[in-house]
């Protein structure tokens, strides 16, 4: 085939593909057409391959983590041993505090996270690329999961459900830069700020915390349950990593390390409530 004709054909194909891509982007953006349906089909079709691939890949993955993450694992192990020792001592005090807390909550008739029905789900897919901060779980609409529901681990808030596809759901992680702000309350002072995703996988609060509020590094934050928070109150959000001031020096800024570890998640729980839990 002459070169000029081959080039013409290549360009024509490229133009067609670009137009097809733009059409798909438009349909997805407007949430019309078959894109959502196709997503469900792709997830279903790919699921057995993914399971088979996971089975084959797990030993290699573990080997990789064993070789290159050995020092981290050693450090983590030492940290965990220290924490276990500390927790043993705290256990008795915590039991007493929990009993008091339960009594107080009952008296004030506040909803608590423990009262909220939940569905435990297995994480079947981690983020697939660098620009994807969602995970997929193996529970969906059949279990009562709806878009917007909070997803937690025993450590704290992990994210929220952004799409439900039959027997699966997609969860946007709390560190996604497009994650909606989370109304968060400082446990000690009670001040409420709006936590938004920051850099390095941390969260940032730059409004709502008064300058005269004493904030210590390591102080815990939980979901506020106020109208500006989409989640039930009392879910651990994270701990204060550093404290600063806003540019106009009127409020404090807080960098928060998420309470839940988002790497290597295996099981999560979806809290089966949305606005009615506020």
């Amino acid at each position: 085939m002459p070169r000029s004709r081959r080039f013409g054909r290549s360009r024509f194909t490229l133009v067609v593909l670009i137009l097809a891509s733009l059409t798909i982007l438009t349909l997805d953006y407007r949430d019309t057409g078959p894109i959502q349906g196709l997503r469900g089909v792709a997830a279903t079709v790919f699921s057995p391959f993914r399971s088979a691939g996971d089975t084959v890949a797990t030993p290699f993955r573990n080997g990789w983590h064993g070789i290159f993450g050995y020092d981290d694992l050693k450090d983590e192990n030492a940290d965990l041993r220290t924490q276990i020792e500390q927790l043993k001592g705290q256990e008795v005090a915590d039991a007493n505090a929990a009993a008091e807390n339960d009594a107080l909550r009952r008296m004030q008739d506040l909803p608590v996270t423990a009262d909220i029905p939940r569905v435990v789900a297995e994480v079947i897919s981690a983020p697939l690329t660098n620009f994807d901060t969602t995970i997929e779980i193996n529970r969906g609409s059949g279990e009562g999961i709806k878009v917007g529901m909070a997803v937690v681990t025993d450590a704290g808030l992990v994210g929220r459900v952004v799409s439900v596809l039959g027997g699966r759901s997609r969860v946007q992680l709390i560190t996604d830069l497009d994650f909606p702000v989370v109304g968060s309350r400082l446990v000690d002072s009670g001040d409420v700020g709006l936590a938004e995703p920051g850099t390095d996988g941390n969260l940032l609060i730059d409004a709502g915390i008064e300058l005269d509020t004493a904030v210590e590094r390591g102080e815990a934050l939980v979901t506020s349950g106020t109208p500006d928070s989409d989640y039930p109150p009392g879910i651990p959000v994270g701990r204060v990593l550093s404290v600063g001031r806003t540019a106009d020096r009127t409020e404090r800024t807080l960098v928060i390390e998420p309470a839940a570890s988002l790497e290597g998640l295996r099981f999560v729980a979806v809290l089966l409530c949305d606005q009615d839990c506020q």
């Binding site: 070169r3 081959r6 054909r9 290549s10 194909t13 490229l14 593909l17 670009i18 097809a20 891509s21 733009l22 059409t23 798909i24 982007l25 349909l27 997805d28 953006y29 894109i35 196709l38 997503r39 089909v41 792709a42 997830a43 790919f46 391959f49 993914r50 088979a52 691939g53 996971d54 084959v56 890949a57 290699f60 993955r61 990789w64 290159f68 897919s125 981690a126 983020p127 697939l128 690329t129 660098n130 620009f131 994807d132 969602t134 952004v162 799409s163 997609r170 946007q172 830069l177 497009d178 850099t199 790497e263």
Partner: protein
């Protein structure tokens, strides 16, 4: 492309996608993951021509899009452009050697990643610009490492159809 070639290319594509999902995406190095789906488009462009590179990039990019929560079509668009670009750039190279091919893979991987990030920003996805250098470095390294085996796989998949377009000899077209 004949039916057999399409089936073989689809098989290689599926294998690449599985590798991305089950292995590559699970390994985080300096805070970033590899992207061998992008390498599929690049290798197809290198092994065949701009047209086939674009089609392969578009097809596998679209399947990846359907598995992600980012806007559907964004991977298809960028990978079609990358496949086309690599197929065209290959024709401009005086002598095709292992080194020039590796350089093309590295350049196309970096360009494809930045193109994707740019398109994502345009479409309203927030991208952490500070993380981009690490992402580019990891993707370039992983793709350079895996480019040869994937090219072998695609060479088998395209068979004689790919070989008629491949240029491993001294050539210069104007």
């Amino acid at each position: 492309m004949s039916g057999v070639v399409v089936a073989r290319v689809a098989l290689v594509g599926l294998f690449v996608l599985m590798l991305q999902v089950c292995m590559v995406s699970q390994v985080v190095v300096i805070g970033a993951r590899g992207n061998i789906v992008l390498l599929f488009a690049i290798a197809a462009g290198l092994e065949t021509d701009a047209r086939r590179g674009a089609i392969c990039g578009f097809a596998l990019g679209l399947v990846l899009d359907l598995l992600l929560d980012t806007p559907a079509g964004i991977s298809a668009l960028t990978m079609a452009l990358v496949g086309y670009g690599v197929g065209s750039a290959k024709d401009l190279v005086l002598r095709s050697s292992r080194l020039t091919n590796l350089a093309l893979v590295a350049l196309a991987s970096a360009a494809g990643t930045l193109l994707y990030a740019g398109a994502a920003v345009v479409l309203g996805v927030t991208v952490d610009a500070a993380a981009l250098p690490a992402i580019v470095v990891v993707i370039v390294a992983v793709n350079a490492l895996l480019s040869t085996p994937l090219r072998w796989a695609l060479r088998w998949a395209f068979g004689s159809e790919g070989q008629t377009r491949r240029r491993d000899q001294l050539v210069f077209h104007r």
